[in-house]
Symmetry: C5
Subunit: 318 residues, 5 copies
């Protein structure tokens, strides 16, 4: 599906490309945005020819080196940027392609993206601020960075809650580990997407194709991106800390059991010694022949079991 | 309750909106501040009509995404900002709504707020510095950030004291944990409120509705906010550290008990061995037939119990 | 005691206020500094009237909120700032009050302060650089920040030495803990005093009462203060680390004892088993009837005690 | 192999130096880049004479002090910079020499380097942006920093995966340690190479030989380098953390075994006590003579083994 | 030994002060540098008189407060700066005195210093860049900061290697501790020397005696110093981390021994129980009278020793 936005007589015109209306397609001069959503190869070929756009190959889109993520030629700037999609679990980074050529922007994506809708809303509300494609691109990036910030804040809130639950002992051990794992992955994905944006914007700032107004916007954006990257670090620190505390608590739990059984161990040793003593085979052995020798042995055993623990408790060692 | 502040002949005029005086209400031109405190729906409807203010819906106010916390249209800027209210425990963040339209400011809140009083004090002391609504908004934010700083410093002082108490062993284990829990929550709330301010001010700085003077104020404010966010990080670090030390001390306490009982364990083993030896049934067994064999066994048992501990003490292993 | 410094015919004049010379008191125009050291209430009243100074109440001086620590009116700027006094132990923060009014400065303090002497020295050495009260205030703050830096460096040197001592095992356990406690408190006090200065200077930079030259000085100072706050963080990190290592070493010391006694434990078990075996009452029991059965048992017992330890040593498990 | 790039009539001319074509060699004026790849000593001597280039000695190239890595004379700037080569394992830093003299650049290297190819690609795509040698040097450094960033990101992704594997218990202990070791070394090498670039660029910025345009490029580059150095720190932190968690898990694993065996230990003690009791030799000993005494003893033994564990389980101590 | 450098007819002239040539001594106007190396008191007195230099007393030189390390009067600037001398072990900080007066520099030192030689080399290579004493001082500081950076990098490399050795278990425990101790001290000394430079340069930047060109140099230097101080922190972090890991490994080593012996302990308990059982004295005791009772007991004992360990191994608890 391809939507083409043109600027005719200071009004936006939206054009849904289909076989039926191919003759009414806006001219290259009026063009400001070609938004390609899961385009077919026919659509690719048609636009390539009609508007003389050079599309990157699929392979180039999937490369992860900066030289494949930002490429500037005499004719255009091609950008492959990560857009984090939060779907159920830890989300994943979708690649969205931007081509900035003359005064229009081409975007290629294979997913419904909230940020595109938001940009459109702003375009409709304030058409005069979107003079050419670079303004649209700037607006999409801005919306995207805001969305990343929202995701980060929500993640940070979840991490805080996890900490509280661990504190209140209000959560099973496996759930803690699973949550840490899940949040770590999400945080890593956000960080990847932000580092990607940081590098792309840094490259855009070096370009001579963008106007100073747009560059000023990007300069503020890169500051926002930097403070968000700081924010992901804060999240990592908190998660690391939670896992650390969790291991610490587990260790103390284990040691508690060891402690109790070490104490119990000592309770049985003295009576065993007593019993062993009266199992000796000496010929001359007075207690053996006593009338209440056996009873005496029992008293001794019980006393020897209780006494040490009693003493240690008194001394505050227990 | 709605208070309306107007600027008439270079003097402030305060106007308490009620059904009786509705005819004396200041005109839209003179208006600089409409302060709505727990407004009724009647008051909403009246102001909406009379001054042509567009209020956000209740639902929009409660959204936590930045696009709902800062919204700029051709007509106005709408801001939903967190104001931390410290009530007994860890406090919570109240949402206060600001609408900046033409030359006046509208604020909507459902709580008595210290910062509003302070701003009013400054307005009375120095009326000439409050030319329009943006100055009032800037002043409220400034007072709010100062208040956050005060709360942070007081929290930091409490954390220091907690550390001292832990050090001096002057506090029960549960109280430490409860205090950490409490301070962590308060610190999280302050941080949330500051991050909120950081993002709102960053958006305000991009707006073209504010004058350069006001923007300069906000630029200094955002630096203050950043250093306060750093401060919350310092508090988190200190709290994490206290909990770490606390777990470490607990662990050492447990190990001390284990150590003592492991030592005691070893005291009983040698005499038990001796007793077992003299319980053997060999036919040829000289000691059994000795006159003082039993006594000899006792001497052996006591000696074997004391000797190892004595040796280890000498060797400095204990 | 009140000393009044005036600037008459491009020369400083010092005036010690007393009942005798009250008629020679400098006029308000010539005044550049009123230094009040533990002033009596009479002196307060006299100066309040004579120079029309508005003094803050004692209660206002002791408030710790920024709004009470920095207060700017149309007439003057009132500042209550912490000055760290290192007296024997961890020191404490004294409040010193500055009132900047017209072209003169009023300072109120209840302690001999090194920084005031140093400022005076500089005034005498270079009178032309102290045109009005703001220059004196700037100079006192500068000297104070330098002094804080000196205290911090000396503390940092002590912390390094503590670390070395812990390393060389050259210090008793309690002394380590006491030193950490002491240094932590001192560091906290320095930090409080620096945060206080940071906030006051930040407020001064927003004021319109100060000249650009003075503001440039304060701008350099706030950078110095920021790097000193960083320095306190470094000290905290080092102290935390020392305590961490200390707990770690303590834990290893305890575990060493547990280890030794666990090993000793195992030495006694095999001979006890042997002895128990020969204490069995079987009718058909060949060893019992042997001539050297008892001797044989002893050999077995000794061998069984030594063998396992020998094997483990060989396997490198010990 | 020596390739000489000249700029003749606003076109690039590439010249492969060999014995055959030595007469067609570009003049010194047209020269912009002499790229020496594993040059022979003959080639060194020829170029030294023909273009009056002063080559550093081999020894000077290998020094690691900054004064040997950046040297500026009246005539030229000589730079020895690290280029990280990732070959199989943790990679190593190759030294590449740059000599910037008049309007041309000389590079000496002993390895095929990707960044040189990329720079060439850009030169061909956009010849007009490479007016003299300093532009080529700036372009090579830029490509190199981008490559370092790519390596860092890929390393960071590997570290994240290692963390996930540790979490999912999906990897052998030795593999974890080996991976940490490997990644640490790679990260250290990247860091060394970035610190090297930071210092070289900082020296270049102080030089008066470079134009402002080139310096602006280097100023953006040094910011990128700084944020990449930050990135290496992030990687170190993550790796440290993984090793920490790994040690923590190992410790808990060990303690689990100790716990289980401590518990088992206690199971055997009570029945041993019972058996010892009925091994006593008292004359008056009723149970001994019972018909079912032996059976009774067995019941007692089993019960005494089970009971404590049962009680502890109920009390939640196990 | 005193060397005097003068600038006569745009050429440097070096003058070695001795009794013989005292008449040819350069005049004060031509003077740019007086380099005093372990000067005698005679030399001090002569120069004090001849060039009207005010030397600080020995005591003033050794003070460590900033007010004694940087002192500016109407006539001159006196600086006492730390120069780290790496001699065998952790090095120590030598104090070097700089006096900047009119257009010449006086330096006092008691050691051969590499940085002075390097500065001289630059002066000879490029005399026109050293117009007066401030340029020489700037050049010495620059060389010194470069040297500090070299020492830091070399230390950082050693720390990395230590980490690798710990990892590869390729070093004795005491050597690790000794190396950490040694590196910590060196790092502390570098840090002290850098903090010293940071404060001195910060004071120089506030002075009105220096030209803007020189100040620009110092501004770049202070940035370098700041990033080097960051670098020392990185080294501390790495060293702390190594010690942490070292303690962790030691702990695990100890626990391994405890674990093994706890397991061994449990091996001996069941056979001891069996033996104790057959040592009971019941009248009615069938096994006692069996022909192969003793053999049966042995089978039982061996089985009871092996079985639990076998079961635990199967259950994966071991």
């Amino acid at each position: 599906m391809v939507k083409i936005y043109a600027f005719v007589n200071s009004h936006f015109k939206v054009f849904n490309l289909s076989e039926d209306n191919i003759d009414d397609i806006p001219s290259k001069d009026e063009l400001i945005w070609v938004d390609m959503f899961s385009p077919s190869s026919d659509e690719f070929r048609f636009l390539e020819k009609y508007y003389e756009i050079e599309f990157p190959t699929k392979q180039e889109t999937e490369e992860i080196e900066i030289s494949s993520r930002y490429w500037e030629s005499d004719k255009d700037i091609t950008i492959n940027s990560y857009f984090l999609v939060v779907d159920g679990d830890a989300g994943h980074n979708e690649t969205v392609t931007f081509i900035l050529q003359d005064n229009f922007l081409v975007t290629i994506r294979y997913r419904e993206l909230k940020t595109f809708g938001e940009c459109l809303r702003k375009m409709i509300a304030n058409p005069s601020s979107f003079k050419d494609g670079s303004y649209i691109m700037s607006s999409i990036f801005e919306a995207r960075i805001d969305l990343d910030a929202d995701i980060l804040e929500s993640l940070s809130r979840n991490v805080s809650n996890l900490r509280k639950k661990l504190f209140a002992n209000d959560i099973a051990d496996e759930d803690i580990l699973e949550s840490i794992y899940h949040y770590e992955n999400l945080n890593t994905n956000i960080r990847d997407s932000l580092i990607d944006k940081q590098r792309i914007i840094s490259s855009l700032l070096k370009s001579r194709k963008l106007s100073d107004v747009i560059k000023d916007n990007f300069r503020i954006m890169i500051k926002d991106v930097n403070s968000l990257i700081d924010f992901t670090r804060y999240n990592f620190d908190r998660l690391d800390y939670i896992q650390n505390i969790f291991l610490g608590l587990l260790n103390i739990e284990q040691n508690k059991v060891i402690k109790i059984f070490t104490v119990v161990n000592v309770i049985f040793l003295p009576p065993t010694l007593v019993a062993s003593v009266y199992g000796m085979n000496f010929e001359f052995f007075p207690e053996i022949h006593w009338r209440y020798g056996y009873l005496f042995a029992w008293v001794l055993m019980v006393a020897s079991a209780i006494l040490p623990v009693y003493i240690f408790k008194k001394k505050g060692w227990l």
